[in-house]
């Protein structure tokens, strides 16, 4: 059993939308262990990215962490830390790779000067830091000299994303959050970035959380996978087990579903209906309106989190009786 690096407990995040409060993440608990990559899968609006932003304390202005704990083994609970304190752990204890739709780099500085800024921010010798950055860039199949002297707009989306990963890794953080790192890339660049993540995962002790809406992207990389639905974590299990013996009806349907051709389309073939709006949640289990196995109690009460084993849990009343049936969906 490897050591736990990050423990998220009962995390609740609310957004202010117009005058209403909306729960984007509702009572989610999750732990990440050293050297492990955990996938977090969900449709858009399921709260998976919000979870990552909350863990970084980078929620937008309308968002607020209401309750819960985000405990790093090295520094303790960071959920209530102030911005100056957070800036000391961001990047070198917990870091993030963003969706590549927009650049997260300063458009008017060279990448070298941005690396320097990163090292100075964390009190690291700039020359030593740059040597490490060069080594990592080499590993990503990029020419370090060319990259460092470039401005962000001079690189392709795939190259920028690889540099983004180097940025997130160069200070050897405990935890790396990857928020849909390949979604905005073309197929070829996706391949390269996924291979890079696989390669880096085997070289580091850091725990990684890989967030995606596409089950197939992460299933070859991850040790465990969590499934989110409408702000709730509905199931968490080792990849192989989750795929072969899903315990939650949503997981079963999701893993069997073929994503529709259009990426933007959130509807998955095989699951009728749409995920609920967070401002208009059904009572009881949030999946109940779409669930083929729904019972009366599912519509009345929220199913509790049932821990099946040390690395597996599910939030469904009927998990033990449905197990067999779901495996054969």
């Amino acid at each position: 059993m490897t050591t736990t690096i990050l423990q998220v407990e009962n995390l609740v995040v609310e957004f202010k939308v117009n005058q209403d409060r909306v729960r984007a993440v509702d009572d989610v608990s999750l732990e990440l262990r050293a050297g492990e990559l955990v996938g977090l899968v969900g449709e858009s609006g399921s709260g998976k990215s919000t979870l990552a932003y909350a863990m970084m304390n980078l929620l937008p202005r309308q968002g607020r962490l209401v309750s819960g704990k985000i405990a790093l083994a090295t520094v303790g609970d960071i959920s209530r830390w102030s911005e100056p304190d957070m800036s000391r752990v961001r990047g070198n204890r917990i870091s993030m790779v963003f969706q590549a739709t927009q650049s997260t780099f300063n458009p008017i500085r060279t990448l070298e000067s941005q690396f320097k800024l990163l090292f100075r921010a964390h009190g690291i010798n700039v020359q030593e830091g740059l040597i490490k950055a060069r080594r990592l860039l080499q590993r990503t199949q990029l020419d370090p000299q060319r990259i460092l002297t470039s401005y962000p707009h001079q690189l392709s989306g795939g190259m920028r994303q690889r540099v983004g990963i180097v940025f997130a890794m160069v200070l050897e953080p405990d935890v790396i959050l990857l928020d849909e790192p390949t979604t905005a890339l073309d197929v070829l660049s996706q391949r390269v970035v996924l291979d890079l993540i696989r390669d880096l995962r085997s070289q580091t002790d850091a725990a990684m959380l890989f967030i995606t809406h596409d089950f197939s992207v992460v299933s070859n990389l991850s040790q465990r996978i969590g499934v989110m639905y409408a702000g709730k974590l509905v199931e968490l299990a080792p990849t192989e087990r989750l795929y072969r013996f899903p315990q939650h009806p949503y997981t079963a349907l999701l893993t069997r579903a073929v994503p529709s051709i259009s990426q933007k389309h959130t509807e998955l073939v095989g699951i009728p209906g749409q995920p609920p709006h967070l401002s208009d949640l059904p009572p009881g289990c949030r999946f109940s309106p779409r669930c083929p196995y729904v019972q009366e109690r599912c519509r009345e009460r929220t199913p509790p989190w049932s821990k099946i084993s040390a690395d597996q849990g599910v939030a469904c009343f009927r998990w033990s009786e449905l197990g067999e049936e779901l495996a054969n969906v």
Binding site: M56, L58, E83, P84, M86, S87, R88, V89, R90, G91, N92, S95, M96, F98, T101, Q102, S103, T104, F105, N106, P107, I108, R109, L117, L118, A121, H122, Y151, H153, F167
Partner: protein
Amino acid sequence: MIWRRVGLALVMIWMTVTATFFIVRLMPGNPATFELHVLLKRGVSYNMALQHVKTLYGINLHQSLLVQYLQYVGNALHGNFGDSILYPDIPVIHLIGKALPWTVFTVGTALLTSFLIGVSLGTVAAYRRHGWLDRLLTPLAAILNGVPNYLTGTILLFVFGVVLGWLPQNGPYSAAITPNVSLAFLISVLRHAILPIGAYVISQWGSWFLLMKSSTVSTLGTEFIVGARSYGIASSVVMREYVAPNSMLPLFTNLVLSIGFMFGGSVFVETIFSYPGIGYLFSSSVSGRDYPLMQGLFAVLTVAVIISNLVADLLYVKLDPRISLEDAA
């Protein structure tokens, strides 16, 4: 590409010189013919009168229009705009040379001051949107923005020069002091410059404030600010290295463009304070019907603006790595 820009600037300069020629030469009741008639009425011989008009305007009235035009352009290229009427026998270009430093000093200081005030207050207002400073300054800036400087100048002169008597009402320095390199002279020059500079600043800072505020608000919403925070860059560094440079970039073009605008606006302020710069010279040339001086001033002012625009374009390419000269056109 550089040559294309330079070529365009040259075409504009040519257009300016041509326009000044035609304004003076071809307008109904044009000053050159008018002057000729005045001299003839006074009993001056036709040849003498022609000669006189020629030295005044660089125009030979008995020659064809084309020859007159070419001679005029030739003279203008040598900086020869003829002699002043108001200040007999002094070449126009000398008068301009003597006035220019006063205007450069006041306009330059005012531009820099209002830019700094507007940019720093605008940044604060953007960071603390809807805070008390924002609520106070935004409407104030919207009202002062574009209020003509003859208005602010008159109020300043009346309040501080007349009612309170704190500062001198006119002139570049006290008549009691002979210009030399002494502290007394320097203080006198500064005291006389305060009100003119103040008049520019009060009517100018609002536009910088509004521009900087909206620019900073949009920069703060960009992905790379979140990116910088996720790398653990401290807020103050994010502001200095990311927010400020990116927000100020679009203001830069306006800064250089407003140099020309402020030179034009110096006509009012320098008239109010009898400040012996370009603007004062211009308004006295107008009231004294000194057309050669008017022409020369107008040509010099316009050429200065054209050249500063060219410099702005070329510098902007240096400042923003994303822009190439082709885009800047």
